[in-house]
């Protein structure tokens, strides 16, 4: 079991009286891509925020490389440095250039020299086709370009685990493809990823495992060809039917 990069055990999260996550178990192995699906409000973002220790949890455990990072004695800043996160709304730093956005964490958090950080930053930007935009400011980029920069920013310090939260849902359809292509490439290179998405077609192609959340409960999980094609639970069926009706599968 120790080759699991992430293990979430019995995670419970309440917002006031409301239980948003109710005993969720998720595991992500090395080089695996695990995709969270579920209706809006089912708790996907909350789960990712809990894993990144941006939220206090109300029960359960979060293990990163076997270490219990939900233990209050663990410094959350140190744990977060081993994870990269990309949000739906990019959240690039508007007052910093693209290159500075990318090199900030390696320089400030991981103590890399500026020259080395910039060299690596430029190489990463080149990989996502944005080498010529290194000096631009985020507001001069398209949504898809900004989201690719956000992914590069999260990758720049070589995190053990990449958390992606609906990174394409704020993008125009023609920009979705370029961002998903990048994620697919990362997957092929062996990046370990836990992501929430509404792109079922993409989940089917890329995921090693799909987890279906409904009302804060993990209803079922398994390989995409089973969960997305022949699910065991009624609730999964109903969700998939709605997705098909909406034309997203």
């Amino acid at each position: 079991m120790s080759e699991q990069v992430l293990q979430v055990r019995g995670l419970v999260k309440d917002y006031g009286e409301r239980r948003v996550l109710d005993g969720v178990d998720v595991a992500v192995g090395e080089h695996e891509i695990v995709v969270l699906i579920g209706a809006s409000g089912s708790g996907k973002s909350t789960l990712l925020r809990c894993v990144n220790l941006l939220e206090e949890i109300d029960d359960g455990q979060i293990l990163l490389d076997g270490q219990d990072v939900s233990d209050p004695r663990v410094d959350p800043d140190l744990a977060r440095r081993r994870m990269g996160v990309v949000f739906q709304s990019y959240n690039l730093f508007p007052h910093l250039s693209v290159l500075d956005n990318v090199t900030l964490a390696p320089r400030v958090v991981h103590g890399l020299g500026r020259a080395e950080a910039e060299e690596r930053g430029r190489a990463l930007l080149a990989r996502v086709g944005l080498a010529d935009r290194a000096g631009s400011y985020p507001d001069r980029l398209s949504g898809g370009q900004q989201q690719r920069v956000a992914i590069v920013r999260a990758l720049a310090y070589e995190p053990r685990l990449l958390l992606l939260d609906e990174i394409t849902s704020a993008l125009d359809p023609e920009l979705v493809g370029e961002v998903l292509a990048l994620v697919r490439e990362l997957a092929e290179q062996g990046t370990t990823i836990l992501m929430a998405t509404h792109e079922m077609g993409f989940a089917r192609q890329v995921a090693d495992r799909v987890c279906f959340l409904d009302g804060g409960v993990l209803v079922e999980s398994g390989p995409p060809e089973r969960v997305l094609v022949d699910p065991e639970h009624d609730r999964t069926w109903q969700f998939l039917r709605r997705v098909i009706q909406a034309g997203r599968l």
């Binding site: 949000f87 007052h95 958090v109």
Partner: protein, 277 residues
């Protein structure tokens, strides 16, 4: 590059419109000035006012002393503004600290702002200027310029702290989350991500406070510092004529104008950026 006849016509029309607007603006300004001039000069007390407030000879003889005083105001202004910015930002940052350990620090910062934002400047000047030296403690200065400067810094840093705090609060929480998620500590997040964005946003109100400070620097004269206002007062007594006050007032206005324009420009630039972003 060739331009179509249509575009040439359009440009010619726009140019003629611009010329017309300029001419209209010029004409209306002249008319307005003439009317105002006649209204003032035909007032019954005009000749007395002119001789006791607008006497050119008095102005010329008082000018050097007033300029000397203004130079003192300027130095006080620059030194105070720097201290105010540092102190204001520090207080604002202290007020953002979270967690029970920091409660006394937060409370102290809040109390400071409440106290000095409410206290009238003139009272603060008297208290610091006459109260502090009155204690007769060793090491307490009794130079009126220094004491006046301290009072200005106390009052204005409370204002500026609130301006900074508003700016810090206006940075969207997602920016903080993004910074924390890549591993930055609270202090690094504030220093590298939040404060730079906040400062950009509050530049216009900061410049406004700077203009206000510019003229309030003249209040150190109540403690006896020989600044522009005090110099004008002395000259007024010497020449039995109020013209030196007018001279000093005009100089303060002249000093404020570039800064006010800068504040306008900064505000416009910000509105454009926020609008487009």
């Amino acid at each position: 590059m060739t331009v179509s006849q249509l575009q040439r016509d359009r440009l010619a029309y726009k140019r003629s419109r611009t010329r017309r607007s300029t001419a209209v603006a010029l004409l209306s300004t002249v008319v307005f000035a003439v009317v105002a001039w006649f209204a003032v000069t035909s007032a019954p007390g005009w000749s007395t006012v002119r001789s006791s407030f607008l006497d050119l000879d008095t102005a010329v003889s008082a000018l050097p002393a007033i300029l000397d005083g203004l130079w003192l105001n300027l130095r006080v202004l620059v030194v105070c503004e720097l201290l105010i910015l540092v102190l204001g930002l520090g207080i604002a940052a202290l007020r953002t600290l979270r967690g029970p350990v920091w409660f006394p620090v937060r409370a102290l910062a809040t109390g400071y702002v409440d106290l000095f934002r409410g206290l009238p400047l003139i009272i603060c000047l008297y208290l610091v200027g006459f109260g502090l030296p009155g204690l007769r403690l060793s090491g307490v200065p009794n130079d009126p310029v220094l004491l006046g400067g301290i009072a200005l810094v106390l009052i204005y840093s409370a204002y500026v702290a609130e301006v900074f705090r508003a700016g810090i609060d206006s940075v969207h929480p997602s920016q903080r989350a993004a910074a924390r998620s890549i591993g930055l500590t609270h202090a690094q997040t504030m220093r590298i991500v939040v404060v730079p964005q906040a400062v950009r946003r509050v530049l216009p109100p900061l410049l406004n406070d700077f203009v206000a400070l510019q003229k309030d620097c003249g209040l150190i004269s109540v403690l006896g510092a020989v600044d522009a206002v005090r110099a004008a007062q002395i000259a007024t007594a010497r020449f039995y004529d109020f013209t030196p006050y007018v001279v000093a007032g005009l100089l303060f206005v002249l000093l404020a104008v570039p800064c006010a324009r800068l504040a306008d420009a900064a505000g416009r630039r910000l509105a454009r950026r926020e609008g487009s972003g």
